[in-house]
């Protein structure tokens, strides 16, 4: 539905450009008097088509990066952590949200590993990205690749992890056997989805073209160059250190 809306707007934009361009060519060929008459109707470029808000559909997938180290031992329930958009959100060739937009995630649940082989537990959720001064709400976070740290077990729809526990203890000896803790380094990547539709005005047609050429395959090192909506780049350094 939203894709259709985007598609229609793209057609409107293209039509606007087509209508406007010949009118300029025509005016250059005609005399000044005719131009003065025709200008009011022919010149207006349909800027409203370019700047009309585009709605990004609910459940649109995004790739984010966790900027702070997290862990079942390190984190506490209801802690917040920083996240950043890794890949721009591009729809119909228009870069609507550039990579680098930062936001916030929340530790829904954290419990460090205990005695008796109790495993560490960590449940994370992505809350929002700050885009254009507004909150783009996120949901359904899942870690990607081997981002679950050195101890891993699983992801559900939010990121729910219980670490690999020690073997089931036998007798009182078990009291001193600890389960594993979960560690998630800064720089770990995760997927998430938009929790609600988000209307945004494309930055500009030029930026849209630039962003639309290679939205998903941009190397990580280029992220800082495309960051336009966020503040300090300190997080990038921290991230890269975390990944090494």
């Amino acid at each position: 539905m939203n894709m259709r809306v985007v598609g229609l707007r793209a057609v409107v934009m293209a039509a606007g450009v087509c209508l406007a361009t010949p009118s300029f060519a025509q005016t250059s060929d005609e005399d000044a008097a005719a131009e003065a008459v025709e200008t009011p109707t022919a010149i207006p470029i349909d800027t409203s088509a370019v700047t009309d808000p585009v709605t990004i559909a609910k459940l649109t997938p995004v790739v984010i990066e966790i900027l702070d180290p997290l862990g079942s031992k390190l984190s506490n329930s209801l802690d917040t952590y920083r996240i950043r958009l890794v890949e721009p959100i591009v729809i119909e060739g228009m870069e609507l949200v550039p990579a680098g937009a930062e936001g916030m995630g929340e530790v829904v649940h954290a419990k460090k590993a205990g005695g008796m082989g109790a495993a560490g537990e960590l449940v994370l959720a992505a809350r929002y990205l700050t885009v254009d001064g507004r909150q783009l709400r996120l949901r359904s976070m899942e870690l990607l690749e081997d981002a679950e740290g050195k101890d891993r077990m699983g992801t559900v729809h939010t990121l729910n992890i219980a670490s690999a526990a020690a073997p089931i203890p036998i007798g009182l000896l078990g009291y001193f056997i600890g389960g594993g803790n979960i560690e998630i380094p800064a720089g770990a990547r995760a997927s998430a989805k938009l929790a609600a539709p988000f209307a945004i005005t494309p930055v500009s047609s030029t930026a849209a073209k630039a962003g639309g050429e290679e939205p998903a395959s941009r190397p990580q090192g280029d992220m800082a160059e495309t960051t336009t909506l966020t503040g300090p780049e300190g997080g990038t350094d921290e991230t890269e250190e975390g990944l090494q």
């Binding site: 329930s77 829904v108 649940h109 419990k111 008796m116 082989g117 109790a118 495993a119 537990e121 449940v123 959720a125 949901r139 359904s140 077990m153 699983g154 992801t155 559900v156 729809h157 939010t158 729910n160 992890i161 219980a162 089931i168 203890p169 078990g174 009291y175």
Partner: protein, 180 residues
């Protein structure tokens, strides 16, 4: 088209025959349990308890101090609730709390295991993967008597009513695949 319809019909008959025991009180493999989809505006958590240590102990899952359901060894129940953060607790000799983020239209899993305590076992509630539930050899829905008073746990008849459309949809997909 006729072939597809025949396939759907035959698969539905087969499903009805095969699914009925899973809906009833019999034990079935975790892989055979049909979990209904969460309706719009809700999410689900499947709580289950693998067998093993402390099988004689109950694991009563509570939210806001109210019991949602007991969870005996090898049992499971499906909690349907509102999206957002929910805190669940289990208690015996010690209390354990698990918070989960319920997402609309999605199903998560949580398990209760009994750890060794000083005088008695200690229930431990932890996030789990669907695989862990599916690989259980025998699992049985919690009896309706052991559910509540807190709302949300799907009773056996609700599980059956909700699961039949899901099974039909699944069968139609399989029939489409077979027809192709």
């Amino acid at each position: 088209m006729k072939i597809r319809n025949v396939l759907v019909a035959s698969l539905l008959v087969a499903t009805a025959a095969a699914a009925t025991p899973a809906m009833a009180d019999d034990k079935v493999a975790g892989s055979e349990v049909v979990i209904p989809d969460a309706p719009e505006g809700t999410g689900q958590i499947v709580f289950f308890r693998p067998g093993g240590a402390g099988f004689a102990m109950g694991c009563s899952v509570n939210e806001n101090g109210e019991k949602i359901s007991s969870l005996g060894s090898g049992r499971y129940f499906v909690l349907r609730t509102t999206p957002g953060r929910h805190e669940f607790s289990v208690k015996s000799e010690a209390k354990d709390v698990l918070a989960l983020e319920v997402e609309e239209g999605e199903t998560q899993f949580a398990k209760c295991k009994i750890k060794m305590g000083i005088l008695m076992g200690r229930p431990d509630l932890a996030p789990a993967k669907e695989d862990e539930f599916r690989k259980m050899n025998k699992v049985q829905l919690v009896d309706a008597d052991d559910m509540g008073p807190a709302p949300g746990a799907l009773r056996p008849e609700e599980m059956m009513a909700a699961a039949v459309p899901a099974a039909e949809a699944e069968m139609e997909v399989e029939a489409d695949a077979a027809a192709e």
